[in-house]
């Protein structure tokens, strides 16, 4: 059976359903290191650069990484060059990618989302915006904005007012009821939800018995959190009508099938890119092969099959 891997995510046409997760694949850095010509053979169906903020941020002190069982704790702290340098230096180069570009933005105050969205609204290189309201390292009154339905709605509404582009809101799992947050974002104008960002966690160095991360706590990603992510995607996509980008612990083609069946329209690979920066190449091949074996004609056919 011929498999047609094309997918769509709102107005975005994707060659297949697999994209990268923000902060885990840097096409500009990888292109310097890897012999692959990433600008012609880009393995993902869309590219999401690392989150940028209004002002440059130098990020958290080291250590910023600590591996846990089947997981990775990070406290990068949204290190980035700031949206102006992003627009000036990176956007022109990213515009040459053969896939849609989804810019990820964050701010320390809700109105910063409106300003960032406004700065990108006029840029043709940008196909969609993702609001990172869930990074556990940027806190408002000691709490991530994405934990509060009010602030979530407010950030979303401000971005919505500033742009007509496809608007994705990325949710945090660190809440009592993620559906409440999902509804708040959609009611405030989100076109799509990214589910999930990292899970709050912490590690101690087993030798010193002191916190392993410079920032003490951090965000857990990787296969360890896949069950948390699948549940969130399942619950949200059963209740709400917007497309969901599923992510959290994807390392294989089977994982992609599971996220689609749980209700995701597209699936993002994050931490697994660190196992192999070109994982997406073999993963997408294997995905096509599995779909053939299982008689699945299109990714869309599978979306929500587990409901």
């Amino acid at each position: 059976m011929a498999v047609n891997m094309e997918s769509s995510l709102g107005p975005l046409r994707l060659r297949h359903p697999v994209i990268n997760a923000s902060g885990t694949f840097d096409v500009l850095a990888a292109d310097r290191v890897l012999a692959a010509d990433l600008f012609t053979d880009f393995p993902f169906a869309a590219y999401v650069p690392k989150t940028v903020t209004l002002k440059p941020r130098e990020g958290n002190p080291p250590h910023r990484l600590y591996e846990t069982a089947a997981g990775l704790l990070n406290s990068i702290g949204l290190a980035n060059k700031g949206i102006e340098a992003f627009i000036a230096d990176d956007l022109p180069r990213l515009g040459r990618l053969p896939v849609p570009l989804i810019a990820s933005i964050a701010a320390e105050e809700t109105n910063g989302y409106g300003r960032c969205a406004g700065l990108l609204d006029g840029r043709d290189e940008v196909a969609a915006l993702e609001l990172n309201i869930s990074c556990p390292n940027v806190e408002l009154d000691g709490k991530a904005l994405g934990c509060d339905p009010f602030l979530t709605a407010s950030a979303t509404a401000q971005a919505r007012a500033a742009t007509g582009k496809f608007l994705i809101v990325k949710l945090t799992p660190n809440v009592t009821d993620i559906l409440v947050l999902a509804r708040a974002a959609v009611e405030a104008g989100a076109d799509c939800l990214s589910v999930i960002n990292t899970v709050h966690g912490m590690a101690l160095d087993p030798w010193t018995l002191r916190p392993a991360l410079g920032h003490v706590t951090g965000g857990l990603s990787g296969p360890a959190i896949k069950p948390v992510a699948l549940r969130a995607v399942y619950l949200i996509s059963r209740e709400l009508d917007v497309p969901v980008i599923g992510m959290g612990g994807v390392t294989s083609a089977n994982d992609v099938l599971e996220f689609l069946a749980a209700g995701a329209t597209a699936v993002a690979v994050g931490t697994a890119c660190f196992r192999d920066p070109l994982l997406a190449v073999s993963l997408v091949q294997e995905l096509e092969h599995q779909m053939e074996l299982r008689d699945i004609a299109t990714p869309g056919e599978l979306v929500g099959r587990a409901h």
């Binding site: 690392k50 290190a79 990787g222 920066p277």
Partner: protein, 263 residues
């Protein structure tokens, strides 16, 4: 920094040698594309293949030796990731990504004073051989806790090595920084033209750099950092250098001593 092959299966390298060297473990991979271009001070990211997801990520290992199409690393089993690496058996395939990082700057001409502590000696072996091969004057000092580690100094083939251990069970009973002072004193006025190449535990590197400064010598140090990607994608492996955070993987792991801010 050379570029890394594009196809994922090119990273799959067969193990052709795997043996204990005292407290460490030596593994040799067939990795022709890496061997062809690797420079001293560069590293590889290594991971066992297979369906298990713990350990999850590859571990950075300095390139210890290059012979024909073989790349060798020397692993000190300190935690889960490194213990699992020592399970390598001939015929296994490992994912080996590299060469990564900037490597040492070999353009200097003064006496090369190589200072290694513990498994930090691993990448210095390739460096020593390369510098000696170019005819540069090379002095090597290696310090270890005790004999079971120090026996790995036999892996330095092309140069003479001064060895010390903290407990005197092999070589001199001394800290490597004492050997370094003697070496630089011995060099006399040439010390100011000498260049240190340092890799080892933080405290030892700091002491070596301090000594270099006192004698007016330059120093390049290869730093350790927790890494996830090795290619500049995650921003996780930062060290403080030149007043900012720099990634040890693609702006290092070798830095000029002068730009590093020690914590």
């Amino acid at each position: 920094m050379e570029t890394v092959p594009a196809q994922a299966d090119l990273y799959q390298c067969p193990v052709v040698e795997s043996r204990t060297v005292g407290a460490y473990h030596l593994i040799a991979f067939v990795a022709g594309e890496i061997a062809a271009v690797a420079r001293p001070g560069q590293f590889v990211m290594i991971r066992q293949s297979g369906p298990a997801l713990d350990p999850l990520l590859p571990r950075p290992m300095g390139i210890h030796a290059v012979e024909a199409d073989l790349v060798k690393v020397l692993v000190e089993p300190v935690g889960k990731g490194t213990v699992v690496l020592t399970d390598a058996r001939v015929g296994d395939r490992y994912s080996v990504l590299g060469p990564l990082g900037n490597g040492f700057d070999l353009s200097g001409e003064g006496t090369a004073v190589i200072v290694g502590g513990g498994v930090g000696m691993a990448p210095l072996a390739l460096l020593a051989g390369t510098l000696a091969g170019r005819g540069r004057d090379v002095r090597c000092q290696l310090g270890f806790k005790t004999r079971v580690q120090a026996v790995a100094a036999e892996l330095f083939r092309d140069v003479d090595v001064d060895i010390c251990t903290e407990d005197g069970t092999m070589g001199r009973k001394a800290m490597v920084s004492e050997l370094l002072v003697e070496c630089l004193t011995d060099l006399g006025p040439a010390a100011a033209e000498a260049e240190l190449f340092v890799c080892g535990p933080g405290a030892m590197m700091r002491a070596a750099v301090e000594t270099a400064r006192e004698y007016g010598a330059d120093a390049q140090v290869s730093v350790a950092a927790h890494m996830a990607c090795g290619v500049g994608a995650c921003q996780g492996c930062v060290v403080r250098a030149g007043g900012e955070y720099r990634c040890a993987c693609n702006q290092g792991p070798v830095f000029r001593a002068g730009e590093l801010e020690w914590r």
